[in-house]
Amino acid sequence: MAKITTKNLNLWYGAFHAVKNINSAFEANRITAIIGPSGCGKSTLLRVFNRMNDLIEGVRTDGGALIDDNDILNSNTDLVVLRKKIGMVFQRPNPFPLSIYENIVFGERIHADGITRDGLDEIVQESLKSVLLWDELKDRLNEPALRLSLEQRQRLCIARCIAVKPDVLLMDEPCSALDPQATARIEELMRELKNNYTIIIVTHNMQQAARVSDDTGFMLLGELIEFGRTEQIFTAPHDRRTEDYITGRYG
């Protein structure tokens, strides 16, 4: 079942046409990778889904983007509700300069009214467990999050998203700041998380897309060239440009 769909989606930064006429369907409980060379619009597309592009001045969109048949792009869409439903993990791990504990309960503090200490404790434990950090950090919850290693920080950021109980996780090059071992462990985590979440990952690392994703979309110069099952894209691409890219002829 499609969780997020786009219909003739276009986006401009001022006069620059960054995302061109995209039609796609991202299925629930699967990992979809969006690959393509730098500047092809893959991050921009990802940021359409939680309306992060709103932070940039001069951005204009048309066409449709739906989550569970609800319009994402409508100006009446409640961004708080939308972003609760669609969490985002960034390229550089960006925990807040607060304690580990406060980072995780951040979402709960801003969204919930009657919060109890026990409720928060439970959220912290659950979220840290689901990113496999609980055993490492359970005695260090009040330490500043900035004291953690890069990998731990990225896991913490994932935990921080999960704590809000989203349906979808958007990941924008989540491993590009990490070393290969840490990358492998984050990928392992993604495979576990896909049972409960719909994951869309943007990556310039083709091997990563091949390893971790179920579906893959290939973008070039703002267009979605090809979209399909990952093994098909990597073994029998229909489009010449996809083939050239995955065989390393450019990008």
């Binding site: 932070l55 708080v80 972003r83 985002m88 960006n94 807040f96 300069p97 607060l98």
Partner: protein
């Protein structure tokens, strides 16, 4: 030849650099030498905590507690006024204001910083002082409150510009992270931006208050200059700075009064030094 030129220039710069340190040291030594002489006449405890300042009675009474409290009261009043307004203004400029408003506000703040303190004092004297008098129905508007309000204007530019800087240098990724979790703009400011910028904001506050403590002209003109221990902010007070400025011209060189004024200078120096060091600590904490 080229090497010689380099050498000469290098040494010249070195001398200029050392000169500034040398002069500071000289000033400091002179201040200490003249100031400590007062302790022959009055012991340090009585000097700091003595309740009466009658430097020209016989024998002179040289207790500067009223002056210290006067300075602190005026500074505290200025802090209460300038910190909330200044920080709010910085948040508005850094986070909320559209580009054009932002430029206009920044220019306005710089203009405020450019007003000489004597002009502020004189404007306060003709506008604020009568207002304070009539609003509170008190015999004179020359009060600590008037001083605090005028000094708040002097602290504000420093607080706003440094706090705005601190907010501006909060990594954009924090803001994005908070927004992506569904935080509203205000929640992002309150829960992420302000804590992240807190050390810079504290430094801004300290530097702003440092300016207030050292300020002389405006307070001398509008605080009434009565060297009594203030019981309320609606009383005239006299600050450390105003005391030196007002009395140094009349003090007989070499008299106890003269030395006492230098000792007041030392106290002032220690206070502003402490404030600046604290501000510096906060600023460096931010960089770490």
């Amino acid at each position: 030849m080229r090497k010689l030129k380099e050498l000469v220039i290098e040494k010249l710069i070195l001398i200029c650099g050392l000169a500034s340190i040398f002069f500071v040291a000289l000033i400091f030594l002179f201040l200490l030498k003249e100031g400590f002489a007062v302790f022959k006449a009055v012991n340090p405890f009585n000097f700091l905590f003595g309740k009466s300042w009658y430097p020209i009675s016989d024998p002179p009474q040289l207790g500067i507690l009223p002056l210290i409290l006067g300075s602190l009261l005026v500074t505290l009043g200025a802090a209460v006024i300038s910190i909330p307004i200044g920080v709010a203004c910085a948040v508005y400029i850094a986070e909320v204001a559209p580009a054009k408003t932002k430029e206009a506000l920044k220019a306005g703040i710089e203009l405020l910083a450019a007003i000489p303190s004597v002009v502020l004092g004189f404007i306060g004297m003709v506008t604020l002082v009568p207002l304070v008098k009539s609003v509170f129905h008190i015999p004179t508007g020359l009060t600590a409150l008037s001083g605090s309000i005028m000094l708040a204007f002097m602290a504000m530019p420093t607080i706003v510009s440094i706090a705005e800087d601190a907010l501006y240098s909060v990594p954009k990724s924090y803001k994005e992270g908070a927004f992506a979790l569904g935080a509203t703009h205000w929640q992002t400011i309150r829960r992420v931006m302000l804590p992240a910028a807190s050390s810079g904001i504290l430094a801004a506050v300290m530097l702003g208050l440092g300016r207030v403590i050292g300020e002389t002209m405006a307070v001398m003109m509008i605080t009434g200059n009565a060297a009594v221990i203030p019981r309320s902010i609606l009383q005239p007070v006299r600050t450390l700075t105003a005391t030196i400025a007002a009395e140094m011209g009349e003090a007989v060189v070499g008299s106890e009064h003269y030395f006492a004024l230098f000792a007041v200078g030392i106290v002032l120096f220690i206070i502003s030094f402490a404030v600046n060091v604290t501000a510096d600590l906060f600023l460096h904490k931010k960089e770490r």
